[in-house]
Symmetry: none
Subunit: 232 residues, 2 copies
DNA sequence: AAGAATTTTTACGACATTTTTACCCACCAA
DNA sequence: TTGGTGGGTAAAAATGTCGTAAAAATTCTT
């Protein structure tokens, strides 16, 4: 897949600031999606799976810290908090809830951009995992850096969901993952009641990756529990 | 493994601030090492290999941004910058050079601590796997984290109830558990009147785990009372 | 706005697990 | 002996879970 623009979700109730962020970020080659309220924002974050979340703490419908905690329940995406109030305790609460950075209004847009770059740098560079960037078992090879999957050297095309599912499984290779855990990581928190998707995509992955899909060597079913990627 | 204190190197030329940081951080259980100049700081960082670097930009001997770049040449350790100047361009330069955060003096110490926690959180992402609970008795191995059971290295497939039953037994290994206790933990409070299930599943477990199911080494019957998992 | 790729919905046969039912043994007391 | 108790194993029946194909709806590209 071609190098696509980073996706940012902005949760901000104040229309002028929202407009400002949207246009400014767009001109710097970010794909921006917006939400006015905390609830909307959570949905948007779950659906868009952004590379970064920008969150205003002063929302009308729910506490910003609750939004952060809720997102952290299923994702480690970078969160940058904006706030009009410079109360120190509030900063601490937001950061401890899982926010990665905190800017007090008014802030310079250049600084925001720099802090966005920092956040994206963090997310894209789990530097310790450099050696695990390419996952190989027998004939199966998953190149996480380039997002290329191959079997016996033949490149296999995977759809976004198929690929994400495979990534989740090999990230926890050897471990049995429950349906809910997988659904949460792949589809987001709102899809936790649909183990059916899982069976369908698991089947598709087996067709593409296993030499005998009816008797999988890697993508194992743990009936009544979930799935696991077998290693060793 | 003893939980060791995070190591922090502070590069700061102003003695009062340095003293303040040293004592304050020390009381929050950090191991603090100090340097007065950029050159000293680079050496200190290289020798101590800290979990975090705190850097004042206004050093006498070299530009703070150069210090950052130099560290980034060989390490991805978190760097938090402190600065008296709130010039935006300087912030941007420092962040783009590789700093992870930037605080303008005067700052609240609580906020600094919170931002330190954020930075350490980033650095130790893969530390979720700290809780490895693996029970091993002779050839039997129960990996609770991965939900995998093996005998002599051969994986054994257990159904949900079989697995739950085994977990209950090894959780209270050595103790005698009554039928009722086990039924309650495995099937839930409403099934307490069916010791028969227990015999069936206990038999299945023995078939799968014991080398001689008719004379079990681990899954022992306490006649008239219940069962127990024998250890030692 | 049309066409391709992908995701979601729908449907149904196959499979695995749990529960029920049945029969076995060993032991002890009447 | 006979009958009762506590326990073990092996099968059926019932239930719940999985896998696959294909159609419908959506999203992405052009």
């Amino acid at each position: 897949m071609a190098k696509t623009h980073p996706v940012i979700v902005v949760i901000e109730d104040d229309p002028p600031i929202r407009r400002f962020l949207r246009t400014s970020l767009a001109t710097h080659n970010f794909a921006v999606f917006e939400a006015e309220t905390g609830k909307q924002g959570l949905i948007e974050a779950g659906v868009r799976k952004p590379d970064l979340l920008i969150l205003d703490l002063g929302l009308p419908d729910m506490d910003g810290v609750e939004v952060i905690k809720s997102v952290r329940g299923w994702s480690a995406m970078p969160i940058i908090v904006l706030s009009a109030r410079s109360n120190e305790q509030q900063k601490i609460d937001a950061l401890d809830a899982g926010a990665d950075d905190y800017l007090t209004k008014p802030f310079g847009f250049g600084e925001l951009l720099a802090r966005i770059r920092v956040a994206l740098r963090h997310a894209s560079r789990p530097a310790e995992h450099t050696q695990d960037e390419v996952f190989i078992v027998d004939a199966l090879k998953v190149d996480l850096r380039n997002r290329v999957v191959s079997v016996d050297g033949n490149e296999i095309h995977l759809t976004p969901i198929q690929y994400r599912l495979l990534c989740v499984l090999i990230k926890h290779a050897g471990k049995v993952l429950t349906h809910q855990q997988i659904l949460k990581e792949v589809w987001g928190p709102s899809y936790q009641e649909n183990p059916h998707y899982l069976r369908i995509y698991m089947s598709q992955l087996r067709q593409k990756l296993e030499s005998d899909p009816t008797q999988p060597k890697y993508l194992l079913t743990e009936s009544g529990v979930g799935y696991r990627f077998k290693v060793g």
